[in-house]
């Protein structure tokens, strides 16, 4: 058996296996995102380009950049062979079996981009010396952590989204930078930005890194910037790539004078601070603190209950949230906080660049910083941090520790996305599978220097199990089910915020520590 497995056939086997698994979820629960994408297929197919960003028959208007609209347009040409009715804009919530089959298969097929990106990342990973069996190689572990990532599986193939394809482009761009092919990396990132603008979160990392390490071709001996080595040619190359991609994507809309309309669709700031389910970030902790203080204030007779704004915390969903005791938070405030949080990271790769891996760290910090402090952040955004961190986790021990905490916490915070009882065994089993694998594989990979996790971290992660049991099993059978249905979501999000904050701080410490000794990685 060993001979066959060592021959390098393991990567296709892993990819094929996970694709087969995805096919079994075709008839699982899917969220409203399914209807969103069906609607976009209909809009791009049935309406002329000038109407794409004005159309609002359905509440799910087109709010991704134009390249994604063109992608949906391409898909719609295949869709018409499955079921023409899904391409009618008026057919709201149309979900015939052929429609479901087509949409699910489209996600599975576009994942081929992700599979290719994972392969490229595995090539970039430094292998350890000596022959080992396949299961202990860093590239194998990375392949499993990427291809069989729990969060991606349930968000893409059950909840329904096209993240695999988009993350594929992101990881491919990162891999290109790790392989020192910066122009290709920049091209891929420009395409990515025009596919989904949430990746603006990590644009500062790209911008500063490319400016500093690509446009300035040489450094001084102590690592500081050598102004004379500035290469205008390279800057021009980068600029033309970005501009041409954006022109390709936004060009038609600028020509039609629809740019303001498109931008207003892409950046809807009318939504609340927190999403319906609170993403595990700073604002979740802030809101809980506020609520706690309000309750305390009422108890201590410092506040009048009537004066407090009626926050619908006891309701099922929370859309708008006015803070009662602490200051209410506005979008600009969150922007300032986000920028402040990523400033040290970006400054460090400007002043003391550490090569492509330093860039990757900065990217992670930008992603996590935006997740922590951003406006209306969705909990799925934690995947932007988890996936690239996998690359660092298989190479270094410290990063593996942070990875384990962030991934387990982040993945658990995705549980409320699948709330149907039929999917419960699947999400629990998949989560256990991924967790067991990541812990044992990373421990084996970085063995020999004592336990991987500190005791406090272990206790925190075990606490996740307690929270899980409490929310999924105990709470539905308790008397509070009727009065406070929001409680499990609150508990999950607050508990996970702690883990995410902790990982954010540790990653920062790691980046700033390496500042002292810049290594060429």
């Amino acid at each position: 058996m060993a001979a066959r497995v060592d021959s390098g056939f393991w990567f296709p086997a892993l990819a094929l296996g996970v694709s087969f698994l995805k096919c079994l979820f075709i008839n699982a629960y899917h969220s409203t995102d399914f209807e969103v994408h069906r609607n976009w297929l209909a809009i791009t197919h049935s309406l002329p380009v000038s109407r794409w960003y004005h159309e609002n028959t359905s509440e799910w208007t087109l709010d991704y950049p134009p390249l994604f609209a063109w992608f949906e347009f391409g898909l719609s040409h295949v869709a018409q062979h499955f079921d023409r009715n899904m391409l009618q804009v008026e057919n709201l919530h149309y979900a015939s079996p052929s429609t479901v089959l087509f949409q699910r298969l489209s996600v599975i097929f576009t994942d081929v981009v992700f599979i290719y990106a994972a392969k490229e990342c595995c090539r970039c990973v430094q292998e350890q010396k000596g022959s080992q069996d396949v299961l202990n190689r860093p590239s194998f572990v990375l392949a499993v952590l990427l291809l069989w990532n729990f969060g991606l599986l349930i968000v893409d193939h059950i909840h329904f989204q096209y993240n695999g394809f988009l993350f594929g482009v992101l990881l491919l761009s990162v891999a290109k930078h790790l392989q020192s092919q910066h122009l290709q990396g920049a091209l891929l990132f420009a395409i990515l930005l025009n596919l989904k603008h949430i990746y603006l979160y990590v644009a500062p990392a790209y911008g500063i890194y490319l400016l500093r390490s690509y446009c300035f071709t040489q450094d001084n001996k102590d690592g500081s910037i050598r102004w004379m080595s500035f290469s205008p040619l390279r800057l021009l190359a980068l600029g033309s790539i970005v501009v041409s991609v954006c022109a390709l994507s936004f060009g038609p809309f600028i020509a039609m004078g629809q740019l303001p309309q498109v931008l207003s669709r892409l950046f809807p700031f009318k939504r609340g601070l927190c999403h319906a389910y609170w993403a595990p970030n700073i604002w979740a902790l802030y809101s809980v603190l506020d609520k706690g203080l309000a309750v305390l204030g009422v108890r201590l007779k410092l506040l009048e209950e009537a004066e407090l704004p009626r926050a619908s915390m006891t309701g099922g969903l929370v859309q708008e949230f006015q803070h009662s005791v602490l200051l209410s938070v506005s979008p600009s405030a969150t922007l300032v906080c986000t920028l402040l949080s990523i400033l040290p990271a970006v400054a460090s790769i400007w002043l003391r660049p550490c090569g492509a891996r330093g860039f990757l760290r900065c990217l992670l910090l930008c992603a996590l910083g935006s997740f922590m402090f951003g406006w209306h952040v969705h909990e799925k955004a934690v995947l932007i941090a988890i996936l690239p961190l996998s690359i660092l986790a298989v190479e270094s021990r410290e990063d593996a520790r942070i990875f384990l905490v962030l991934t387990t916490t982040g993945h658990y915070s995705l549980f409320p996305l699948l709330f149907t009882p039929a999917e419960l065994p699947i999400k629990v089993s998949l989560m256990l599978m991924f967790t067991i694998f990541s812990f044992t594989a990373l421990r084996k990979l970085h063995s020999g220097q004592g336990p991987l996790l500190r005791p406090l971290e272990v206790i925190y992660l075990l606490g996740l199990v307690v929270v899980a049991i409490a929310c999924e099993v105990v709470f539905p059978l308790s008397p509070w089910q009727q009065r406070l249905p929001f409680l499990p979501l609150l508990a999950t999000s607050v508990y996970c915020s702690v883990g995410v904050c902790y990982s954010f701080l540790r990653l920062y410490v790691r980046l700033l520590q390496r500042d002292d000794k810049p290594k060429q990685l």
Binding site: M1, C23, A28, P421, P425, I426
Partner: protein, 494 residues
């Protein structure tokens, strides 16, 4: 990586695959019979609301609407499930709740099927030889066997997993030398589903053979212990019905309905396949069951006799396979799902990988059945996954020299044919058969049969399957009569 983590990952993968398959359509059927799911729920209704004595009677219990036709243990299991009344009383109100289906209920039912997986894990870890990686690969392939998954979780006909699980516990116990526990486990399996009778003969012959081989005092002692265990288990299960002999007889009559025909639907059975050439069904009347019984008995005889004379675990496994195949091929009123009783072939995944995989693939090839239930995607996915991963992980195509396939006897039998490399022949036959199965699958879905032959594709599928099963039956009988694996060739397999 440590064994326990790999084992848990394999088990969890098995669970995820099963649950994923169950999310697809089940045997919902159309009114008024509402399918097998409804049968299960109705049994819970009946067992919970009626006193024990009336489970198999017609008094307050309309037997035509999915009457109970399995032995008592199934009835008790339904009764336990009916304690779902605590969670949702609407499910089991007698007479009112026909046709009620809910996702929570589905969930509840499927959780009870976990007797099977621990038995598989223990078997693969303790009773197969090879490196731990080979054992884990065997475990994964065993758990991914599509036939059982599709029938129990997709088609959702019965709790085959429970009865097979008990039987597997019995096999496990016998392999570890715990004869008494093994016989108890198997008696439980028998009392759960009467189809386990397919496996009864090898158990009997193996234990009898062991008794004979033991010393004069030991043999009597062992015989008495085993007989006592079996009788006690049966008595315990049938206790409520033993008070009244006519009761017991009624139960037996429900379990073995001899009023049905020779075969139902298109089964990969000898009789069904022969029926395409000569109309056997009309020739043989109801009384000719004796001939069939004789046929089956004759088919089973060689393997059982060999096991009796050489009661080793290796022969026991082979006899299980041979016996269940013989019963399937020649017996009376065989339903196509009975091929699942050839699941003991999974036990041979480690020793004879290529043939085992080949047979297991053929046994999943019940396409018409799955098409009826809308299980096309799970069928395609699980079959392809099983084929690919078992060939890859067990390196089946590498380990098919003549020695490893134990084809030495074939050479002697086919002495009249020119000498050829049998292993090569086998490999090519494997490729061709997989291609044929793939083509038939595609053709059955894509094309419409000609109007004068409406059953063309089901018949083709079942005949192909039959040829595979018959060939496997002959092969395993030949293997049973050749020499057991030598120590040298076993070491090479690692």
């Amino acid at each position: 990586m440590q064994t326990w983590s790999l084992v848990s990952i394999c088990v969890l993968l098995g669970v995820v695959v099963r649950w994923g398959v169950s999310l697809n359509s089940y045997s919902a059927g159309k009114p008024p019979m509402f399918g097998d799911y409804e049968a299960q729920r109705h049994w819970q209704e009946v067992t919970y609301n009626l006193p024990l004595q009336e489970y198999f009677n017609t008094t307050d219990n309309d037997l035509n609407y999915w009457g109970l036709d399995y032995p008592p243990l199934t009835a008790y299991h339904s009764w336990i499930c009916a304690y779902a009344k605590i969670i949702n009383p609407d499910w089991v109100e007698l007479h009112k709740s026909r046709g009620y289906e809910s996702p929570t209920h589905k969930l509840f039912m499927r959780t009870t099927l976990l007797i099977y997986i621990p038995a598989v894990v223990l078997y693969c870890l303790y009773l197969t030889d090879g490196s731990s990686k080979k054992k884990i690969s065997t475990l994964l392939c065993f758990l991914l066997y599509p036939g059982l998954i599709l029938i129990d979780y997709g088609h959702f006909i019965r709790y085959n997993g429970v009865s097979l699980g008990f039987a597997l516990w019995g096999i496990l116990a016998l392999g570890l030398g715990w004869d008494v526990s093994g016989s108890m486990a198997f008696s439980l399996a028998l009392n759960y589903k009467q189809m386990e009778l397919y496996h009864a003969l090898p158990f009997f012959c193996y234990l009898l053979g062991k008794c004979i081989k033991a010393g004069p005092m030991g043999r009597l002692f062992l015989l008495v212990r085993i007989a006592a265990t079996v009788l006690a288990t049966f008595a315990l299960c049938w206790l409520p019905f033993l008070s009244d002999p006519s009761q017991a007889l009624q139960v037996v009559r429900r379990i073995f309905p001899v009023a049905r025909g020779l075969f139902e639907d298109k089964v990969a059975n000898t009789w069904c396949s022969l029926n395409t050439l000569i109309k056997i069904r009309s020739i043989l009347s109801g009384d000719s069951q004796l001939y069939l019984l004789a046929c089956t008995f004759l088919a089973v005889l060689p393997a059982s006799f060999r096991l009796l004379t050489k009661p080793t675990f290796w022969h026991f496994k082979l006899a299980l396979v041979n016996s269940s195949l013989a019963f399937f091929l020649f017996s009376y009123q065989v339903h196509e799902k009975s091929i699942l009783l050839a699941a003991p072939v999974c036990l041979l995944l480690n020793d004879l990988p290529l043939i085992a995989i080949w047979f297991l693939q053929a046994s999943t090839f019940m396409l018409p059945l799955f098409l009826k239930d809308g299980l096309l995607v799970p069928y395609v996915v699980t079959s392809l996954a099983f084929l690919f991963f078992s060939l890859y992980l067990l390196s089946a195509l590498d380990h098919c020299s003549e020695d490893e396939l134990r084809m030495g006897a074939y050479n002697k039998l086919l002495f009249f044919l020119p000498k050829m490399d049998l292993a090569h022949v086998v490999r090519w036959k494997f490729y061709i058969s997989v291609a044929v199965m793939a083509v038939l699958s595609i053709v059955s879905i894509a094309l419409v049969p000609p109007p004068h032959l409406p059953d063309l594709f089901p018949v083709l599928v079942s005949t192909t399957a039959f040829l595979h099963f018959f060939g496997t039956f002959v092969y395993f009988n030949v293997v049973q009569f050749s020499e057991p694996p030598s120590r040298k060739s076993q070491k090479k397999n690692n």
